[in-house]
């Protein structure tokens, strides 16, 4: 009995010591969270994949497994099982190789005796493939309450934060550059009933410090004219905006009817959209045009615009098998299915609210630029698991994933390459007392997607065009593109491969 009392006293002291450490570290953590702005993290854009080295190592198959800070996104109910206090820091380094080769076309603006030039395009690459900073940091604690879990942290959703393609490339009428910095500040709470069932919720403050988008528009106003390859009146349209606050929430649940079997589900259930306010700048691409484009509204100088990006709802379900040996988990295997309502994204819309541009005495209606998406809902399948090679010393993990295409081929665009993706991941964790070092590598590949001009539904933005639906008026629409507002802009071959390496440091008090 005395021995048991001594052990209980030592355990109490250990818990008190951990709380002391936590109380000392909390100011540091808060300071870290506060300075993340100055880091200007290369946060994700429209996202896919998994964050956190442990989750990434099993290809994101962690809806049921969720037992670290990544649970705030994957399944907040998992936080109730953490059972202690943990501090988690992580970073993901990515190499995002994206290649686009525009489909050859006939340049109906370059006629020799009525015969158009056949134009072939060189492949263009994302000139910013490296994404070195993609952090995640948070703290999870049960605050001494056996059935509860709480979390606080910040992270960027997984994705490609920055893209830059050549100004003269074949993709110019789709996009030149995009920078989307999303930061998710999260607060989560979870509760469990013994080890049978648990529920949790995450509340998110989505902060978009920078949302920048550049593309080339054709300012030609001649009725029926079309410039499929380039125009003397090409304009670089740049939208720079930010959205300080968008609210979102994630709910989750897990249920473990058997020691070896677990079910889990989570979902992002609050309709939301990023509505970023900023400015529009339009400048001639040609160096031979000295005049600037003057933007006005109701005759007064103005450049303010709103860029709207709808966010999807999502649902994840997971089923996990746990293989225990002597009451210790030796390995697990999880199958996750995800469903995301990307169909809410019909277009990225820049609303200029009646903004007009004037160049060389010509007026341009730039009140609304819509980049058509017409996305569809996606399904993801992930299979992954952990294997405890050396219990409490070394864990190996691996997984594979598949995500269906958000973008129909007709609406493919270099800004968000929304084609189907295949992925494979490997990872490991090394444990040193309370410290866990987790490493993961993931490779995702988007098989080549070819879009013909006949399939294309993304067209050059021509603000001065008088061609109106159904785009059949021979006086205002071009005879070679019947039924289309202007020349197709997105025909071509899209290829992408992503390499992610993630390091996570988890300290359990």
């Amino acid at each position: 009995m005395a021995r048991m009392a001594r052990m209980a006293r030592m355990a109490r002291m250990a818990r008190m010591a951990r709380h002391r450490v936590l109380s000392r570290c909390l100011p540091c953590l808060l300071a870290l969270l506060a300075c993340i702005h100055s880091v200007r993290a290369a946060a994700g854009g429209y996202y896919w994949g998994a964050k956190g080295a442990r989750a990434l190592g099993r290809a994101g198959a962690a809806t049921a497994r969720a037992d670290d800070f990544s649970a705030v996104m994957l399944n907040p109910a998992g936080l109730a099982r953490v059972g202690t206090t943990l501090l988690q820091l992580g970073n993901r380094v990515s190499y995002n190789r994206q290649v686009y080769t525009r489909m050859p076309t006939l340049d109906w603006s370059d006629l020799d005796q009525g015969v158009p030039r056949y134009v072939e395009f060189d492949p263009v690459h994302n000139n910013l493939p490296w994404q070195p900073l993609d952090p995640m940091m948070g703290v999870v604690s049960n605050l001494g309450l056996r059935h509860w879990g709480f979390a606080l942290g910040v992270q960027a959703p997984a994705g490609v934060a920055k893209q830059r393609f050549p100004a003269s490339g074949g993709q110019r009428y789709m996009m030149l550059t995009r920078e989307a910095q999303f930061l998710y500040y999260t607060a989560s709470v979870a509760w469990k009933l013994r080890d049978i069932v648990g529920v949790g919720a995450t509340f998110q403050w989505i902060h978009v410090p920078t949302l920048r988008y550049e593309l080339v528009v054709d300012a030609t106003q001649f009725p029926g004219h079309v410039n499929p390859v380039s125009s003397e009146l090409d304009m670089r349209a740049s939208i720079e905006s930010a959205d300080p606050f968008t609210a979102n929430a994630i709910l989750g649940i897990w249920y473990r009817p058997l020691a070896a079997f677990e079910l889990a589900a989570s979902g992002q259930l609050v309709p939301a959209q990023v509505k970023a306010h900023g400015s529009l700048r339009i400048e001639p691409v040609s160096t031979e045009i000295d005049d600037d484009v003057v933007l006005t509204r109701d005759g007064k100088a103005a450049d303010d615009v709103t860029l709207t990006m709808p966010l999807p709802l999502s649902a994840r379900v997971g089923v996990r098998y746990i293989h225990n040996v002597h009451h210790r988990e030796r390995f697990d295997l999880e199958l996750d299915l995800t469903y995301e309502t990307w169909s809410v994204v019909q277009a990225l819309i820049m609303d200029g609210n009646g903004l007009e541009g004037e160049l060389l005495g010509q007026r341009l209606d730039v009140g609304r630029i819509a980049i058509d998406k017409n996305w569809r809902d996606t399904i993801g399948v992930r299979v992954g698991g952990d294997f405890s090679l050396l219990p409490q010393r070394l864990t190996l993990r691996a997984g594979i994933s598949y995500e269906s295409a958000a973008s129909k081929p007709a609406y493919a665009n270099v800004d968000f390459l929304g084609a189907r993706q295949l992925g494979a991941s490997v990872g490991l964790s090394v444990y040193l007392r309370g410290l866990e070092l987790a490493l993961a590598y993931s490779h995702r590949r988007q098989p080549a997607l070819r879009v013909r001009e006949s399939e294309s539904s993304v067209y050059q933005v021509v603000p001065g065009s008088q061609c109106r639906p159904p785009y059949a008026d021979p006086l205002t629409c071009n005879e070679h593109y019947p039924g289309k507002p202007s020349a197709p802009a997105n025909a071509g071959t899209y290829e992408a491969a992503y390499h992610h390496a993630s390091l996570g440091v988890i300290y359990r008090f």
Binding site: M103, P104, L106, Q113, G114, V115, Y118, A448, V451, E453
Partner: protein, 449 residues
Amino acid sequence: MNRVMLDWRLLPLPLILACGQPDVAPPENIVAQLSTDIVTVVHVTWTTSEPSVGYVQFGRTEDMDGRTPLEAEPRTNHSATLLGLTSDTQIHYRVVTWDGEDAAASGRGTLRTGKLPLALPTIVKTGTGHDSYTIVPLLGATTAVAILDGEGRYVWYRSDDRDLDIYRARISRDGNSILYNAASVSGDLADNSEIVRVPLDGSQVTSTPVPLLAHDFVELPDGTLGAIAVEYRDFEGAPLRGDKIIEVAADGTQTVIWTSWDCFDPTVDQGDDMISHGWTFANALDYDPQDQAYYIGMRNFSSIAKIDRATGACLWVLGSTAATITFDDAAPRFLHQHQFEVRGDRILIFDNDGSPAMESRVLEYSLDLQNGVANHVWSYLSDPTVFSFVLGEPTRLDNGDTLINWSAAGQIERVTPDGESRWKINTPAGYAFGFHTLAKTMYPRPTPN
């Protein structure tokens, strides 16, 4: 025991699914071969699985800066003719198609054009050429029609073995053929003269007989041919050789638009060489589609007249006989001129005999029709001087230079406005050039009526 077997044959399926949409179907069965008639002409044929329009991109370098016309109607069996090629030259080509929405191209091919027939005279060039093709008859030991590129190289030719001369050749307005007149104006006139139509690919030659054709003809925007022909009428008990403008419609119908007797009276307007050359001796013809008027040059009158196509009336006459326009006092006069060019209020004239020495020249006048005065503004003598006793034609180029065809001397020359000679081509002795026409392209688009 049932076993779940993996069907390995299904393994490629994900790969196929991953490959996305197929590419646009390229043109197939491409065959390129030299014309059997003209070694600088290449026929290309190809097929497509779906109806499409297409063209052939071609050239002497891999840039392939030439294009055949775009086919007018979608089809699955296609052909095109490559023109403007020089002899014994490697060319690169590929077929481009457009099915209404998607463009596609074949792989690149190469072909070598053939060597010119030995009968064609060698042309020597000096200086820098121009940017047009010159369609010109060759007279001498060989009678032929040739098309020379801006550097004076043969890109098309057709020998004509009939015992007639060729004075004028031009690309038809539909862009498909070469038209030329086969006639005789020196010695006995030809009853079997005709206007010949040769497709640019050299096949299926057709002709329209027009008896007693003279030097020149034009093609009107609607395809009607207007030509000078000789007409005889009784004058003081003997046949007098005058001229007429005759129009040949597409269906072959021939209509006389004007005769020398409509404007002139042989008892009053007699001119030179009436006994040896006949009366008016018309030798050059132009047409102004805007005014719907002909310009006709008459050697023996040393005059040029503007004729209303509808009425046959002479609107004005410039020259030495029956003139309605007088020269300013200092203006040199032209004599026995041949071709000319009316451009706005200016007229360029090839003056065969007007210079005091044995030399031909080009004169340019400004026409003040209000006051009926022609003012001399420019003239040019070649250095060394040349004499062309017949034919000869000046053409003002878009850049202000003048292309001068010293026909009988076998020389074509480009000169600047200040009289600097920039380019010459010369035939060997014994050859002459007929009248020329210029074309910016070997594929002129049909002119709207």
